[in-house]
Amino acid sequence: MISITDITRQGARGRSALVALTASSVLALSSAAALAQDFDPQAVINIGSLYEPQNLDNTQGAGQGINEAFNGNVYEGLFVLTDAGEVEPKLVDSYKISEDGLTYTFTLKEGVTFHSGEPLTAADVKSSIERVTAENSASSRKRTLAVIAGIETPDEQTVVVTLSAPSISLPYNLSYVWIVNDAAGDISSGEDGTGPYTLQEWRRGSALAMVPFDGYWGEEPTNGGVMFQYFTDATAQNNALLTGAVDIITSVQSPDALSLFTDNPDFTVSEGASTTKELMAYNDRVAPFDNAIVRSALARAVDNEKLLQAIWGDYGTLIGSFVPPTDPWYEDLTGVNAYDPESAQQMLAEAGYADGFSFTLDTPDYDPHPVVAQFLQNELAKVGVEVKINIITANEWYTKIYKAHDFDATLQEHVNHRDIVFYGNPDFYWGYDNPEVTRLITESENVASMDEQTEMLAKANRIIAEDAASMWLYLYPQIVVSTSNVSGYPLNGLNSQFFVSDIKKAD
């Protein structure tokens, strides 16, 4: 899975009402179920996951597993990105933005202590942000926070951040920054956060256990602790759930095993909103893909619905563009360049390719790309376009496509939240270069309100959809399976987070 560095911009409100509603009604249903039965506040929740962290420091290349285990559970940020996609204050009590948008003044919550017992102070916040922007930091947030010009701490509870340019996404970006006690030192195998859980033990290759923190400032967890059990193999993980060794598995990556759980009253299968998009990226720099008519024609030649059905059955969503429903600037664009093979052929003729053409599709060697490539090969053959499938490894993808831009078209999954900004960068691997989109995306960061930002990015999104900048095939489903006596877990898992403190296990 490629986690592209997130040049993410922000807009904290302005959510797609439909998705928020769906997600919250599912949550409401499951919490209603939990109310009906009593839960055991001492129960330890066993969570199966395929993403073991490589170390415990999110600025040192620990991988997505550390966000899953620690974000919001062991560490908290000044802000939190909730499971519904909202950015809300966490360790910040209140904040002010200066007129010019260049100075943010944060007042910290009172009475917050670290697991070591020390109180949270402004100096901790300063050093935590500097951990992420430090020279040796491998954090994916380093680039987005480079706009920070200085951090001052006039008193224990106040942090003043000055920026070199306005950044409407600052609170969103800060939701990725763990607040770590400045006296903690190396946190690659230990921790000192402010979250509701403390790390109990981590055995590499096996499991990581956390217990509730007695001195937590917020609401206390509804369980007696959690244990993440790590699997290297999805089948082993499914078996563990079937045999009761784990209570929840955080994300199902293949539909094959779902039938084991869907028709079984002992298990609950929930589908949340994912941000993982499967797409065919053209090299928009080279002919014939430098022609928007050709790209639109190909988009119309492929029946995405049939593809999604073939791969995921009844799960997953069609998007019509790059923006998933959990991004504030989402809009249903499946109607733009919808499936219509006849008009596809006409457009190809119009663009001078009445007899079709052929191109090489560089296909990563892991699921689901090879299957998707074959599907595209069949579909495009019907309009006279020949697809030559070239299977490559993830490493080749990185060097040949991402760095050298040496390709016609490729398949890739993009996992990040709020990543439409890639289309504003003409140097990105797919080379989409539309000055209007670049302008909209660049300027959307410097606006005064999130509504303005949302409006500009929604506009950019419509343009890339009409331009058929890439072929967006489908949005992966985000599936969580649990035993039926467990409830209260997050469904969307945005940016791999998995908040555990509301999880309840019935007696």
Partner: protein
Amino acid sequence: MLRYMARRLVILLLSLFVAAIVLFVLLRLLPGDPANALVGVGATPEQIAAAQAQIGSDQPLAAQFVTYLGDLARFDLGKSFVSRAPVLEEISRRLSVTLPLTLSAFLLSMLIAIPLGILAAVKSDRWYGLLLSVVSQVGIAVPVFWLGVLLVYVFALNLRLLPSGGFPLRGYGDPARAVTSMVLPVLTIALIMSASLMRYVRAATLEVLGSDFLRTARALGESRTGALMRHGLRNAAVPVISVLGIELSTTFLGAVVVEQVFSLPGMGSMLLLGIQQRDYPNIQGVLIISTLLVLLTGFLADLLQRVLDPRLRKEARR
């Protein structure tokens, strides 16, 4: 004998040295820089340069090689690129899973294969002798992972007797769970291993049964079983032991698959993860230690053969 041992030890160390060189070269033949894998897609050139400096992949190959050999000579296997944890420490923790796994599988397979192999030879004319050799023949053809999955299906998913995989957080601090989580993996390896081992035992026993010295012993009035026990088995043991040495090594390496099937935190899963992440220190460390263990096994098997067979000792003295 002592001189022989010393000579063998020198050969062992030389082989280890050659293996270390081969490993280093092979890993560097792979295209791409491990620093890329470390910082991930989308990193800035500065981030990549910083990562290269941190892991030393910006140094010329010759310099990297000298550092590597120097560290190795001091038993320092370095630190993981990814987790920053000392490799040797991690390996010893992983070995605490892999060694008990392979050794108990090895012992169990001997317990199964030796008596059954002898029985199959002695009773090769009976239906059950024949059945035993057919079963062992079939057993050789069964892939390890398939048997593992089958055992999980029967004992974990259906009968709910044993866990389907995983290893307790506190390891052997939680002895009951540690032992139960080892049962299926050990059975998987032991059953597959005993199938091939049984064939060797049967073949060696058959050969001894047809030998002149056994006929002579019987002519001197010993019973067939008595002659076999007193004179035959020791002779049959010599070829079997060299096979055992090889089998133990293969089991150790075969544990990679079994650890994957059962999600055990052993050396095999460390190796696989290391390969996925281009974590050279981890890959090198695991392979060096594995090579050492395989060489040591061969060395011990050799010594044992010499203890059992005086003829070999004589040859060595010459």
